[in-house]
């Protein structure tokens, strides 16, 4: 994305967003460098997302992230409304989060993904108690794992399910259509019980960068998220972007991709948190959003988000088709 275009869009959305934003600075905003102003969330067309990583600096990096995890917003997420979490915030009760997926397993004891996620969420939502339950899940969505997820949801009764999905189906080479149908059905089921869902795409790895099947599975996760109007964290895109940022040539014993996996885990907590925080703020701040034109998001005061009584219709900023 060219800078002038982004600037124009930013200006346009500022105008759009201005009427519903109180004109005061937000002390609780998670941006450490206030000078950069609003965090931009821009979604270029899907083809650009999947095939051509933009040259560095073409789009502003999200500076609210740790330096080693910094990725442009378009590589990181598409946003959508999170009604159940918002309700929990309004009712001032703890937000219960269930995080499911391959990286959610076995990591509870040390400060890795689930722990970092809880910390990061509580940091970006001050005064809110976030309870993260993490579960590894065996099996494929297309056969059995979806049913296990339902039982897990019934057991834990979360407000939000953060679902890192697709790895096992990719490893089993499950038919991409079957995978998408089963995923769609399960997301519908979760949403049908007034529980929010955030999907996380599987890892990027150079050895699968030209594997058409794998890429189609990543696409399916994005497509289901778009269809169901749920946020998606582009772990694949984020890792691919980071892999192009001078990680090569370090001569690590296991190769750069193996270090990246570790980095991917650490950054994923930040990325997921960023997507959730912005999704929470987004529905109240943005009054328009189409699948064609990229839109931008302004971080309003947290109060504004919490006090909203009549939420606007769901807004989804999805990669254009």
């Amino acid at each position: 994305m060219a800078l002038p275009q982004a600037a124009a869009l930013l200006a346009a959305s500022l105008t759009l967003a201005a009427p519903c934003l109180p004109a005061r600075a937000d002390p609780a905003a998670p941006a450490p460098t206030g000078a950069t102003g609003p965090a931009t969330v821009v979604s270029p067309p899907k083809t650009a997302v999947m095939t051509a990583p933009g040259p560095e600096g073409a789009e502003a990096l999200d500076v609210t992230l740790s330096p080693e995890c910094r990725v442009p917003g378009s590589k990181l997420y598409t946003l959508a409304r999170l009604g159940a979490v918002k309700l929990a915030l309004t009712e001032k009760r703890p937000v219960r989060v269930l995080t499911v997926g391959s990286s959610s397993a076995g990591l509870g004891a040390s400060a890795t993904y689930p722990v970092k996620l809880e910390t990061a969420l509580e940091r970006s939502l001050p005064d809110v108690d976030v309870v993260v339950e993490s579960r590894g899940m065996q099996g494929e969505i297309a056969s059995g794992a979806a049913e296990r997820l339902r039982n897990m949801v019934a057991e834990i009764e979360p407000d939000l399910v953060i679902w890192q999905v697709g790895t096992h189906d990719a490893l089993a080479r499950v038919d991409a259509e079957d995978f998408a149908n089963a995923l769609d059905e399960t997301v519908q089921w979760i949403k049908g019980h007034e529980i929010d869902v955030v999907l996380v795409t599987p890892v990027y790895t150079a050895s699968l960068a030209s594997d058409a099947y794998y890429i189609s599975l990543v696409h399916k996760v994005q497509a289901v998220a778009a269809r169901e109007g749920v946020p998606v964290v582009q772990r694949y895109e984020a890792m691919r972007y980071l892999s192009g940022q001078g990680q090569k040539g370090e001569g690590h014993l296991l190769g750069s991709q193996f270090r990246l996996n570790d980095l991917g885990l650490r950054c994923m907590a930040e990325h997921v948190t960023r997507a959730i925080t912005l999704s929470l703020l987004q529905a109240d701040a943005v009054v328009t959003g189409t699948t064609k034109a990229p839109a931008a998001v302004i971080v309003p005061p947290r109060d504004a988000a919490v006090k909203a009584t009549v939420p606007p219709p769901p807004v989804l900023i999805a990669p254009g088709d």
Partner: protein, 366 residues
């Protein structure tokens, strides 16, 4: 070497089913009976384990062996199964890591629950030895270790009163369903994939059923009369699983686990379906065995050597998964990996029996 019998035959079939079902996405998966019912091969495997304990802890004349010997026998079996679990898990992790290195593909490191081991080896190594860190598809043996570990309690109690053993077992099962009791995973959050506190019921049922079946003509008569009930349950299971009809776990009344279809807790629906299968198919072996010829011989061979066949089968399933992923799958690959796997399982059974026949230098014949 035992003569071919129904127990080994069905156990062999369960082993083949587990091997095929543990290669998710493969062409043959949809032809296993697990796809056409609420319960699957795991129930059969555990029930038959209980049945075998009944046989093993008695002499040929049906009289129970001395208590101390039964306890030591079960302890020795527990150690054997634990050793098998540790060995197969170690080899599985090495296969996953090795393939990830060769293919330069870290996606493989996130293979069903393996991620924890690679990201967090210090805690996970402890969980590995404690059996509280389990890889996906490698969680039956940990269940089996716990079941064999607690089996002496039920075996000795049943010598005093079979009803008392059943009552204790049912009580533990229902309490676990009502209060969600399960053993914890560690270092990952969550619980065991197979809840031993629930699954012990099948082991005890198998053990008690073997005893009753041997001495009670009443049970034998009634189990034959109830065959139509069994068939009705099996047909219901086929309809429910083909149409994907099942209760919504969020909407069912409390206690939730009494109503859901949940493998982890062997919920009542699964238990009833399994008992229906038992009733429906109890006499089938006598009909099948003469007609199947070498297939029956193959399956009973697997069943006689179930621990070795299961362990090798787990590793072969994983190898097949890795090959399918690497090659992209397809019918040709599926036929090759499943076909060579079945041959390898047969060889494993034969090899174990060959080794036990062969005199060992360390133990000269008396």
């Amino acid at each position: 070497m035992r003569e071919p019998n129904a127990i080994d035959f069905w156990r062999g079939l369960a082993l083949v089913t587990i091997f095929v079902n543990h290669i998710p996405g493969n062409t043959f998966e949809r032809y296993t009976y697990s796809q056409y019912g609420i319960s699957d091969a795991a129930e059969l495997f555990v029930f038959l384990a209980g049945w075998s304990i009944g046989i093993a802890t008695r002499g040929r004349d049906g009289r129970p062996e001395p208590r101390g010997r039964s306890v030591l026998r079960l302890l020795s079996r527990t150690i054997e199964v634990y050793r098998a679990q540790i060995t197969t898990m170690a080899l599985a992790l090495a296969m996953i890591a090795g393939t990830a290195l060769v293919l330069d593909n870290p996606l493989l490191l996130e293979w069903h629950n393996a991620g924890g081991f690679f990201a967090d080896p210090i805690q996970t190594m402890v969980g590995f030895a404690l059996l509280t860190h389990q890889l996906g598809f490698f969680n039956i043996l940990p269940l089996y270790v716990v079941l064999l570990g607690i089996a002496p309690v039920f075996v000795l109690l049943a010598r005093v009163s079979r009803l008392a053993a059943l009552a204790l077992s049912f009580g533990l099962y229902f309490a676990s369903l009502v209060f969600d009791w399960n053993l914890p995973s560690w270092p990952g959050e969550g619980d065991w994939f197979f809840d031993p506190l629930c699954w012990q019921l099948l082991l005890v049922l198998g053990f008690v059923a073997e005893d009753w079946n041997r001495r009670s003509p009443w049970l034998r008569t009634w189990s034959v009369r109830l065959v139509p009930v069994g068939i009705a349950i099996v047909v219901t299971g086929i309809v429910l699983s083909v149409l994907e009809i099942r209760p919504d776990p969020v909407l069912v009344p409390e206690p939730r686990l009494l109503f859901t279809f949940d493998k982890t807790y062997l919920t009542p629906a699964r238990l009833i379906h399994f008992l229906g299968m038992l009733l429906a198919f109890q006499t089938l072996y006598a009909v099948l065995a003469p007609r199947l010829g070498p297939v029956a011989g193959y399956l009973t061979g697997l069943g006689r050597n179930s621990l070795a066949v299961f362990s090798i089968g787990s590793l072969l399933s994983l190898a097949a998964q890795l090959v399918r992923f690497w090659t992209g799958g397809g019918v040709f690959v599926d036929v090759s990996v499943v076909g060579s796997g079945l041959i390898a399982l047969g060889f494993t059974a034969w090899f174990v029996e060959w080794r036990s026949r062969k005199p060992r230098p360390s133990s000269p014949p008396a």
